[in-house]
């Protein structure tokens, strides 16, 4: 299930609800991405996120379908915030249930790499010194490329 949310949410409650419907799954992996705060001098005061309505959701559905093809998992949950958010608030929450833990771990990891480098979201940091649009780090691209490498191995 894919949910684009304009308001904040409680990841714990989402995990409880997801888990109650996880049937006979032996493993549930969740990933929570949060707005980082104030530890640097140029502290982030807030984040703003936007998406391409309809198209973003459709593409995320494709990513879920690809995860399904690669691993023996149940239907994942993806919740992604848009709009304005403050330090400590959730940005993204992904839950994957599976019979075995390796499938759940890898599919969650894969979906997060997708969300960081391919999903149609744009993120702006609101800082005291001026706003700044963010791009993926080199690390994010190399993380995402792991799954292509693996395709070549097969």
């Amino acid at each position: 299930m894919i949910r684009i949310s304009t308001s904040t949410f409680d990841p714990g409650k989402e995990l409880s609800a997801f888990e109650k419907n996880a049937g006979d799954a032996g493993a549930v992996v969740s990933f929570l991405g949060r707005v980082r705060g104030e530890e640097t001098e140029s502290a982030v005061r807030a984040l703003y996120l936007e998406h391409y309505p309809g198209v973003t959701e459709h593409r995320l559905g494709d990513a879920e379908a690809e995860a399904h093809r690669r691993w023996a998992i149940d239907e994942p949950l993806i919740i992604h915030r848009i709009g304005d958010m403050k330090p400590g608030e959730p940005i993204v929450f992904v839950c994957v249930s599976a019979r075995h833990r390796r499938d759940a771990f890898e599919a969650a990891d894969f979906l997060m790499d997708y969300l960081k480098t391919k999903a149609l979201f744009w993120k702006k940091e609101i800082r005291p010194g001026g706003d700044q649009w963010i791009e993926p780090r080199a690390q994010d691209y190399s993380d995402a490329a792991r799954w292509n490498e693996r395709d070549k191995d097969n």
């Binding site: 198209v55 960081k116 149609l120 979201f121 993926p136």
Partner: protein, 82 residues
């Protein structure tokens, strides 16, 4: 009328997320559309020509680059979700 969408920093440069534009006889493809937009705004034109900028026509990827006056054309800078 064609609907032009800008996201992320491109929306800041364009001064808005959306423009409705009459595409005349001189615009048949993406390159010509960018040329038309660049006429009014050099900086935006240069930003749209950056290699990292992707385009989506009518919400489909790889739909070729032909454009008509009833299309929706989205310009996407590098994404940053999650």
């Amino acid at each position: 009328m064609a609907r032009i969408l800008f996201f992320g920093r491109l929306a800041d440069l364009a001064g808005g997320r959306e423009r409705v534009l009459h595409i005349g006889d001189s615009v048949h493809n993406l390159r010509e559309l960018v040329d038309l937009i660049a006429k009014g705004d050099d900086r935006l034109g240069a930003a749209l020509r950056e290699k990292s900028v992707q385009t989506i026509i009518n919400e489909r990827l790889n739909s070729g680059d032909a454009i008509t006056d009833s299309d929706e054309i989205a310009f996407l800078p590098p994404v940053s979700g999650g």
